[in-house]
C-alpha cells in the first residue's frame, strides 16, 4: 500500500486532498464532516472583516448535457463574525489534531494582518493561506487579486505575515496576470513557505439570452465572477508547471484548479504540486468523492511503484519545456485501425475541413485511411475519434538527428 501522507512545507495531513478555501469550508461543522469523509486538510473560508453577500451568487457552464464543466461565483469572503469562525476553528483543530487546518486570510493594514494571524494561531491553525487571488468584489477594495497582481505588494505583505506567524505561510496566487513566475518569486522573496494556485479566473460565466442579463443574476444586474471547475484545469496546470520548472523557485506548491478526481490530482502532482485543493467537484457532488480520490491515487501509486507522494512530484514538469526546445525532427502520423473503426467519418470531416486534408474515404468502403505522406501528426483525428485506440499516432523515423528551433535557427545562419 502506498503511503498517501502529505507534507506541504511542514504542514502534515493524512493525504494530499485538501478542501480549498470556499463555501465547503465555511463552517467548522462542514470541515469536521469533510474530515470524517476522508479529506486530509481544509483551508478555511477566507477570514477578514465580515462582508455582506448578494443573492444569487453562482453560475454554471454546462457542456453537451454535462452540468458544471465550468463554475463561477461572486460570493465574497466570510460573512460570519470572526469570533464564531475562530471559536469553531479551535474546536476543529482540537478534535482533528492530525488533519491540516489552514486559516485563509484577507485584510488590509499591517495591524489587521498581525491581529488576525495571532487569532489564527490561537485557534490552532496548522498554517496560513494569504488570499491574494480573489478576482471579484474584494479586489475593488484593494485586496485579493489587487494584491496578487502586484509582486512588490505580494512580497511586502508576505514578509509581514512571515514575521508574525509561527506556522507556515502559504501565498494563494491569482491567475489574472500575464505571467505567474514574478508573483511566485515575490512570495518566495517575502519568505513564504509555499504557494497555492490558481485562484479563480475573472469571468462572465453566461448570459441570460431571454432577459439580457449576464449570470449570475442579481436583481437584473451581474458582475464579473471567479471561474473554476474542470474547464480551468489546463490553465492551472500550466501555471503550476511554469513555477515548478523555474530553477530559482524552490518552495512547494499546493495545486488548485479543476481537480475533480484522483486522476486530476496525479496530473497536478506530476506537474509539480505537492498536494491539491478541491472545491467545485465537492460543490457538485459532496464530500464523499474523496473516498474514490484516495483509493484511485493509492491504486495508481501501487501500480506505478511509488511508495510516497514525494516520489511523484514534478515528474512531468521536468519534461515541460519552452517550445523552442522541442525536437523538430520528431514525427508521428495517424493510423486508423479498420477493425475498430465504426465508420462515423468524424475524423475525415475534421481533417478535411480543419486540419491538413490527409484523411480520405476509399470508393468501396466507409472506413477512412490516412495519407501518411501528407499527415503532419497533429493528433486531431485521434482526438475526435469516439472509439478508444482506434486512431493511434505512430512514430516515423525521419533518419535525422534531434534538432530544436534554436539549433534550426543557428543552422540557417
Amino acid at each position: 500500500m502506498a503511503d498517501l501522507r502529505s507534507n506541504l512545507a511542514g504542514i502534515k495531513s493524512p493525504n494530499p486532498f485538501w478542501l480549498a478555501s470556499a463555501p465547503p469550508t465555511n463552517t467548522g461543522d462542514q470541515i469536521m464532516r469533510a474530515f470524517d469523509a476522508g479529506w486530509g486538510g481544509a483551508v478555511w473560508k477566507t477570514l477578514g472583516e465580515p462582508i455582506v453577500n448578494v443573492s444569487s451568487r453562482y453560475g454554471g457552464m454546462d457542456y453537451a448535457g454535462k452540468r458544471l464543466s465550468g463554475f463561477n461565483n461572486i460570493e465574497l469572503i466570510t460573512d460570519r463574525p470572526l469570533d464564531i469562525n475562530f471559536k469553531e476553528m479551535k474546536e476543529v483543530t482540537r478534535r482533528y489534531p492530525n488533519h491540516a487546518v489552514i486559516s485563509s486570510l484577507m485584510v488590509e493594514t499591517k495591524e489587521e494582518w498581525k491581529e488576525i494571524i495571532e487569532r489564527s494561531m490561537d485557534a490552532g491553525a496548522n498554517g496560513l493561506e494569504l488570499n491574494f487571488g480573489c478576482p471579484h468584489g474584494m479586489c475593488e477594495r484593494g485586496m485579493g487579486s489587487a494584491v496578487g497582481q502586484n509582486p512588490d505588494v505580494i512580497q511586502e505583505i508576505t514578509s509581514w505575515a512571515v514575521e508574525y506567524s509561527k506556522v507556515p505561510v502559504i501565498i494563494k496566487l491569482t491567475p489574472n496576470i500575464s505571467e505567474i513566475v514574478p508573483p511566485g518569486l515575490a512570495a518566495q522573496a517575502g519568505g513564504a513557505h509555499a504557494v497555492s494556485l490558481i485562484n479563480t479566473i475573472k469571468s462572465v460565466i453566461a448570459v441570460d439570452i431571454d432577459n439580457f442579463v449576464p449570470l449570475p443574476n442579481v436583481g437584473g444586474k451581474s458582475s464579473n465572477g471567479g471561474y473554476c471547475g474542470p474547464a480551468v484545469k489546463p490553465i492551472a496546470m500550466r501555471m503550476v508547471g511554469d513555477l515548478a520548472r523555474q530553477v530559482d523557485f524552490n518552495i512547494p506548491i499546493s495545486g488548485i484548479g479543476g481537480v475533480s478526481n484522483w486522476r486530476d490530482a496525479v496530473e497536478f502532482i506530476l506537474m509539480g504540486a505537492t498536494n491539491v485543493q478541491v472545491c467545485t467537484a465537492v460543490m457538485h457532488h459532496g464530500f464523499r468523492i474523496v473516498e474514490d480520490m484516495i483509493e484511485g491515487l493509492s491504486n495508481y501509486m501501487d501500480e506505478k511503484g511509488f511508495q510516497t507522494i514525494d516520489q511523484m512530484v514534478g515528474l512531468a514538469s521536468r519534461n515541460f519545456v519552452e517550445w523552442g526546445e522541442l525536437n523538430l525532427n520528431h514525427k508521428v502520423v495517424a493510423e486508423i485501425n479498420p477493425d475498430k473503426c465504426i465508420e462515423c467519418q468524424v475524423c475525415y470531416v475534421a481533417c478535411w475541413d480543419t486540419a491538413h486534408q490527409c484523411i480520405h474515404i476509399p470508393e468501396d468502403s466507409r472506413v477512412p485511411y490516412v495519407d501518411h505522406d501528407h499527415c503532419v501528426g497533429c493528433n486531431l483525428c485521434s482526438l475526435v475519434c469516439p472509439v478508444p485506440e482506434c486512431i493511434t499516432m505512430i512514430e516515423v523515423d525521419q533518419g535525422k538527428p534531434e534538432m530544436n528551433w534554436k539549433q534550426y535557427q543557428a543552422s540557417k545562419a
Binding site: A64, G65, I342, E343, C344, Q345, V346, Y348, V349, I361, R366, P386, V387
Partner: protein, 448 residues
Amino acid sequence: MTQDFLQQLPSERSESGITDFKPAYSQKQALAEANRCLYCYDAPCIQACPTDIDIPEFIYRIATENTKGAARTILDSNILGLSCASVCPVESLCVGKCVYNHMDIKPIEIGRLQRYATEFAYDNNIQFYQKGPDTGKKIALIGGGPASLACAAELAIIGHNPVILERHALPGGLNTTGVAPYKLRAENSLREVAYIQEIGVEIKTGINVGDDVSFADLESEYDAIFIGAGLGPDSFLNIPGEDLEGAFGALDVIETLKLKTFPAELYPKAIIVGGGNTALDAVRELGKLGIPEVTMVYRRTEAEMSGYKHELAWARQEGARFQFLTQPIEILGENGKVTGLKCIQMELSEPDHSGRRSPQAVPGSEFVIETNLVAFATGQGKLIDLFKQVDGLELDWGKVIVNDQGQTGNPKYFAGGDCVNGGKEVVNAAAEGKKAAKGIDAYLKGGN
C-alpha cells in the same frame, strides 16, 4: 372552408386505452439522447432513410435547443415526419444503421428524437410552409393516405392546387385506420393531415373514385392525377366458416379498434392468421386490449416470416403465442359464432418463386385450436378493377408501374405508395409521393 377532421373523430375509441410503446421524450431525455449522437459525417442513418432526412443535423439542433430548426430539418425532407417518427420500423432503418451498433453501444433512438422535434412544432403551432404562387393547375389525388398527403403538400408548396379524394370519412389512410395505436393514434394522424391542409391542400372525403366520380371526369377537371389508392381490402383464405360472427379481416379489426370500440371482452381467445407485420400488429393490439390468449398461426416457420424480428420479439415478450407450420382449413362455429379453427400441420419443401421454402400439408395431421375470433392478416387485395379503368396504365401483378418520376404508362397519371410498391412503410409512401410531386410539376411545366 377547411374541414376539421379531428373534430369528426369519435371520442370513444378502443385505441385510447392503449399506451405508447415508446413514450414521448421530455426535454431532459431528448437532450441526453441527442448529446450522445456522434454527429457522423455522411451518416449511415441518413442513407437508411427513404426520405433522406438529415438525421445528424436535426439531432444536433435538438442538442443546441434549436428544436424548431430540428423540426424544420425533418419536415423539409419528409412532411410526414410526425407519423414516421412513430411508425417507422427504425430498428430496420436508421437506428439499425447507427454506428454505435458497431461498438455494441445502444444506438441513438432516432425515432423518439424525431417525435420530440416534430411534436414540438405541432404543439407550438409552428407552420414552416405556405402555398406557393398560384400556378392555376389542379391535381386530383386518389386516396388520402401518406403517399397522396406527401405528394399534395409538395404540390401546394410549389403553387399547384391539389385536391385529395378519399373514400373513407376520415383522411390519413392507414395512418388513421391501420397503424398500431401503441405507435400512432388516429388523432396524431389527423393532426398531421391538418398541418398539410394548412399548406393549401383540399381534402374531399367519402368519395369513391370510379363510382362517385369517373376517371373521365377527373381527366377533364384536373391537369394531372396522382394515384395513391393503396391496396384493396383484406384477403381471406376462402375456407369454410369465414361468414361466422368472429371471423374478420385483420385490417377491419384494427380499423374498428382505432376509430370505434372493439368488444374485446366477447373474445377470450383470438387467432391471427398470417406472418407479416399486420399479423404481428394485430396480435399485439388484441393482447393490449386485454384478450388473454392471442395466438398467431402461420403456415411457414419463424425464419420465413415477413414480419420484423423486433416486432416478433416484442409480441413474444407481451405473451403472445405462436403456432408455426400451421395452415387453417376451416373455421368452426356454433350458433353462428366462431368456436375454433381447424388447421393442418405443414412441413417445408422446395423454395417457391419468392425464394422461401413452400409449405406442404402433412396428410392426416388435422387439429383444432379453440378460439372465439379469427382474423386474417394474409394480405390485401389489389385494386386491379379500379386501375383497369385508366387508359394506358401498366400493371405488374396488380401493382401500378411508374418511372423514376412516379409517372405511369398514362402520362397524365402518376402514382406512389402501396399501390406501386405492393405494401411498404409510411416512409416509403412519403418518399414516393414527394418524388411524384416533382414529376407532376415537371409534367405540368411541359417537361414531359
